[in-house]
């Protein structure tokens, strides 16, 4: 066994964990294409309809398993254009989508390739969770909750959630600093429950990463990882990232759970597209 295999087996053992008749690659390809098509509809349908139509067409092609890799190969230039357009301010989930496209294009449908995809997805889950927690520790802006205090001041969906742990007068004080100018602040909140919640964010992220790293604690890491995603969805409403990351995280489970995710994810995306374009639906803030 070479170094690459030993390294990749660390997160998903090709001997012990491999799933017979695995179809995860196929399901993930389709989910990713649905995800990209929905994202293109929300972002570009009104301003660049042809761009959205192209991604939707590729998504429809990807429904047929035999054409999935061709659809992905054609989706890559669209995605690279997307990255180029936003560079250097490219959101991390856009990078992850691009990376997923490249990996899923390279891998076939064989059992070995499915295992290799799982190894990649498991490592990716670990890296994202561990480093997002570690970076919060490095920069220290979660110890006193300064950064999220600016979010509370600026965005109602952050206020909706943090109203549980932050007194109303504190929220009003933070809101009084908007629009932000030199001298605005301090963005500090005198509330112990708030500090507990804020600091549990980076601790949970790092803990999830560490638990995922060891075989014996992997399931606990998976649960913690799901908690992180639920937290992000409830507070930050990064719904599109949430669906994508849940699909990546599901690679830890020894069955093709992404296939079961396809229908609910599609329905969720259809709902979000409707919310985005039809004003008669109740407003719901989310980020594609």
């Amino acid at each position: 066994m070479n170094v690459c295999q030993v390294f990749l087996n660390r997160m998903f053992d090709s001997e012990r964990d491999a799933v017979a008749g695995d179809t995860l690659v196929r399901s993930t390809r389709l989910l990713l294409m649905i995800h990209l098509a929905a994202g293109h509809i929300v972002r570009f349908a009104a301003i660049q309809p042809m761009r959205s139509a192209a991604m939707v067409a590729l998504c429809l092609i990807a429904i047929n398993a035999r054409w999935q890799r061709a659809a992905i190969a054609l989706a890559i230039p669209l995605q690279i254009y997307n990255v180029h357009e936003k560079f250097p301010n490219v959101a991390n989930h856009l990078w992850i989508e691009t990376l997923m496209l490249v990996v899923l294009l390279m891998l076939g449908d064989s059992e070995e390739d499915n295992t290799l995809y799982r190894q990649f997805a498991c490592w990716l889950s670990f890296i994202v969770l561990f480093y997002t927690g570690l970076q919060k520790l490095w920069y220290g802006t979660y110890f006193d909750g300064q950064y999220l205090a600016t979010k509370i001041a600026l965005f109602h969906h952050f206020r909706d959630f943090f109203a549980i742990v932050v007194p109303q007068q504190e929220i009003e004080r933070l809101q009084s600093y908007v629009p932000i100018q030199a001298g605005s602040g301090p963005f500090l909140i005198n509330s112990l429950p708030y500090l507990v919640v804020i600091n549990s964010v980076w601790i949970t992220e790092m803990l999830a990463g560490v638990l995922l790293f060891f075989r014996r604690t992997r399931m606990a890491g998976f649960v913690f990882g799901m908690f992180v995603i639920i937290g992000i969805e409830v507070v930050a409403r990064e719904i599109f990232f949430g669906v994508l990351f849940v699909a990546i995280l599901l690679a830890f489970l020894r069955a093709d759970y992404v296939r079961r995710l396809l229908l609910p994810a599609t329905l969720l995306y259809v709902y979000l597209i409707c919310v985005h374009y039809f004003t008669w639906l109740p407003r719901f803030t989310f980020y594609p």
Partner: protein
């Protein structure tokens, strides 16, 4: 492609992803690049610096002020896009930002403009006090010759008041040079 080759590629991607956040952190510390950009996994860590209160004054070849209405509308839109783009670039690249880029883009966008002054506030939260501190940056540029060369001067002063308009004390060190200003002549 053989399974071994695929394994090597996946291995390479994963190792790069493992190492990159450490490199990114070093770049943030050393060059002040944006924590949110360049796949650093440090999004949602701190608020990006904010650029506000931008004032742009344009001058023609005779040194006479040109209003936005006097510039061709398409050209003026290109100027506005250049300003917006430079805002993003300045924040993303930090100390690695090429300050002449804005001048080159604006002079390329409009032949009418010979010189311009762009003043704006750059705000960033002080991690210790959790209060936004800012600097008023004065960016002045003029065409150096007809070959696309530009002359750029940039200086900054600390801001204090909530309105962000009142100066506090003498000019602080410019980002470009210790004496506060610097003229640079380099081919565009």
């Amino acid at each position: 492609m053989t399974l071994k080759s695929k394994q090597r590629i996946i291995f390479g991607i994963v190792v790069t992803l493992l190492v990159w956040p450490l490199v990114h952190h070093a770049l943030v510390v050393r060059y002040n690049i944006d924590k949110w950009s360049f796949l650093g996994f440090s999004m949602y860590i701190t608020k990006r610096p904010i650029q506000v209160n931008g004032d742009l004054t344009l001058y023609d070849v005779d040194g006479v002020e040109v209003t936005s209405g006097e510039v061709d509308q398409e050209q003026y839109q290109a100027v506005e896009r250049a300003i917006l783009d430079s805002t993003r670039q300045r924040i993303a690249y930090g100390d690695l930002y090429d300050s002449k880029r804005l001048a080159r883009d604006i002079f390329k966008a409009s032949d009418t403009i010979h010189r311009f002054v762009f003043e704006f506030d750059l705000l960033e939260m002080n991690r210790e006090t959790a209060i936004f501190e800012g600097v008023r940056i004065r960016y002045e540029a003029e065409r150096a010759d007809d070959h696309g060369n530009v002359r750029v001067t940039e200086s900054s002063r600390e801001l204090k008041s909530p309105q962000g308009r009142h100066d506090r004390g003498p000019a602080v060190q410019s980002k470009l040079a210790p004496d506060g200003t610097r003229e640079s002549r380099r081919a565009a």
